[in-house]
Symmetry: C2
Subunit: 509 residues, 2 copies
Amino acid sequence: MPQQTLYDTITEIAKRRGFYWPSFDIYGGMSGFVTYGDLGTKLKRNIEAAWKEYFVRKQGFLELDDPVINPERVFQASGHLDHFKEYTATCTKCGKGFRADHLIEDATGLENVEAMGGAAIKRLLAEHKVRCPDCGGELREPALILTMFRTEIGATGGETGYLRPETAQAMFMSYRRGFSHAREKLPFALAQIGKVARNEISPRQGMIRIREFTIMELELFFDPLNPGCPWYSEMEGTVVMLYTEAMEADGVKEPLIVTLGEAVTQGIILTEWQGYFMGVSQAFMDLLGVPPEKQRFRAHLPEERAHYSAQTYDHEVLLETWGWTEISGCAYRTDFDLRNHMEASGLDMTVLREDGTRFVPHVVEPSYGLDRLMYVALEASYERKEKRNIFHLDRTLAPYQVAVFPLVTKDGLPEKAQQVKEMLLSKGFWVVYDEAGSIGRRYARADEIGVPLAVAVDYDTRDKGVLTIRDRDTWQQVSLSLAELPGALTAYYRGEKEFPDLGLPVNKK
Amino acid sequence: MPQQTLYDTITEIAKRRGFYWPSFDIYGGMSGFVTYGDLGTKLKRNIEAAWKEYFVRKQGFLELDDPVINPERVFQASGHLDHFKEYTATCTKCGKGFRADHLIEDATGLENVEAMGGAAIKRLLAEHKVRCPDCGGELREPALILTMFRTEIGATGGETGYLRPETAQAMFMSYRRGFSHAREKLPFALAQIGKVARNEISPRQGMIRIREFTIMELELFFDPLNPGCPWYSEMEGTVVMLYTEAMEADGVKEPLIVTLGEAVTQGIILTEWQGYFMGVSQAFMDLLGVPPEKQRFRAHLPEERAHYSAQTYDHEVLLETWGWTEISGCAYRTDFDLRNHMEASGLDMTVLREDGTRFVPHVVEPSYGLDRLMYVALEASYERKEKRNIFHLDRTLAPYQVAVFPLVTKDGLPEKAQQVKEMLLSKGFWVVYDEAGSIGRRYARADEIGVPLAVAVDYDTRDKGVLTIRDRDTWQQVSLSLAELPGALTAYYRGEKEFPDLGLPVNKK
């Protein structure tokens, strides 16, 4: 029997407890689509809220929410209609299509074949005599296929539309309004959390590459002659692992360990804004449970870089299953996009400087795939301890905040525990209640869905108004009075108090 | 010049300040799509959070998040492929298609023509000699057209898929997993907030009927022999305005004024669960600013009811622009959907009672269109006072919580105000900062985006650490110390303190 990987373990827990599972499974499924259950929906929402804490609220950036369906004109203007394509090899026998670069990677062990370009892909496919992985049939020469979902807008045959494959174009289309809402001052940013869809030819890797997913992305607009970031000083001392473009080109294996400030000064990172966002990004991954030594930033080589980018750093985290995995890109898009949309729309998107000169704002863009981050948060916080599964999710990310258990299901304890639950619900907490099985099993069930604190209601609660709080991470308990409970939990969830300080020590029974 | 309606006023403010505007407007627009700006995105998120407060968190219901794209098989099983159609009349001259029922309504003044059925629609269209509203051309006999967005899943020609037109099927497809996650106990509910798309033939009415929108919906599963709702007593005393099926059939104009409890007892409302959710719904609309006298519940007539429903009450609110407008439907779907999916999937969805009998759970479903609710919240909270626009949004819904203003832009006041802003940001508040123009204009700008409280930093703040809080709704001010500010605001936003009690009275300058 093949060994169960960590990915398998997490997938099993995710299905059984209700984080996520393959969509439409009662009708045979459809690869590339994921359904989030109760826990996954809540975890996703909490990661979104955390992203806004790190990237939007404190900076006062503006938010945006644009449709998923866009008319064709938009993707003509943005260049997607020409560029959002993949080399696809179709089988002459069974008719199935496959991404040519993936077929080559599987056959040769080469990495990042996509970046090598069409000629190399055609040559490698022929050289290695790659055949259909499904039926062994001969493959046609690969052709570029558009990988956006196509539809018709207007039920009686109106206009062609596509589901957006990214959210950035929405921010560029709304740039003029955003600038006006930002009181016509630079820098400002438009941030969006929204659904996108990519019509992947042959989706694989489970949660890492799906067809419909959520992006969290922001476009920061600034004057290239005034490129300072006001919060830069908060991040310039952050130490990061970096692979520069030159190191990538030379195949250097050891990363450069450097502060973001030094990297910006040396010109390895082109702008303060990229440096700032890379620092925020590292802190954000830290919140998800990924320590700095499992994070690195890797520059794109010129041939790998998107046509709009002057420099892109991928933020990668080390996963047990897939090795170094991209979770974010931080791109310096220059004025490429606004210039494009200015030309296509005929509208003026320039800004007037005090000295009378005009310019098109430049753009730095950090971008995240939310669904992938959810898997990262689960893998990074997972621990197997004494045959139990624990997700050490940060208290701000945990789907439920408090579990309430009666010690036994008699002598009025369930009724008392229900009162405690109702009281905590009235204070705004997300609460799970459980009275099935031994209290040890109930603690284990709560650990397995990452509930940070569990409140046990016992005879002391009934008789003296005293209860215990048990910590998911240390399995330690403290005791406190019923009256103190809501205040203690509020302080804990606002980050003002830590666990052992919520009450008095209790010897584990 | 035609008089400006309230809808026009709100639309103008929404565009200018950044609540929402027509999508793709830089490329000529596309009717039926709306873009949310910073304020709209935040207001929408707050309405979502409020819905979860009212319908999910306290009840401990389970959440779900399913893809928008579904394979055709799903809509075959659900019946959408046969039923999600509209009678469409196409012009013989210009080729444009129009909803036949809307054309008849415009031509005759009749209401709810859709419910009359196909034969009546064809007859009325011919009788009234309705012609193309665009070019005056003759219309073809109306035909049923599928109004789901169609696409292909798999870029190389895979399987037909559609964008879901509602979210309910997701809950039925996940029913078995949900039941397991609910520890195999009834009643339980699956709730979802998610995007849907309807390929409307000729969208109109701005924000009220759009092609891509968000639904907030829950499916409550219960045993029909044990139909009690544990929270029913909270709502049975709520007085509502009701139009029963019999009243509708008889054309009764005056509503029945009745408590939900009486209505359930008399069998006018079929189940406690509907009664409960209708009460919650009325309270939810109250939060959005709609008083009970502008709310009513109207039963669907049998011919108007969806094929799955044993009883549906629409919740309607009175809008200035469109009169009574449906914002929600509360449907008793019986076991129709689960039976359907059982048959189509071949999977068992029955539940075993303690007495050994088996049954298919019944379903009650309250359902909301979020985008429409956003317009309702804006219209219901709008006031024009002394030539100013004010949105009296509930404090839990307001896009920003606090505005910070320096009295003047000199003498160190902007620096002091920035410190206050940073302090409030660090405490987790959503803050706007404004120093442009007179302080009166700044208060007016904050009122126009519904900021409940504004903090003014003046010489007393600099010299004595005292500042003033000004209330959006009463325009009154109180003074308090800088040290007291975060505590006062926290108490206010948790609903523990009301405005004049946040400090000491100040005479308006």
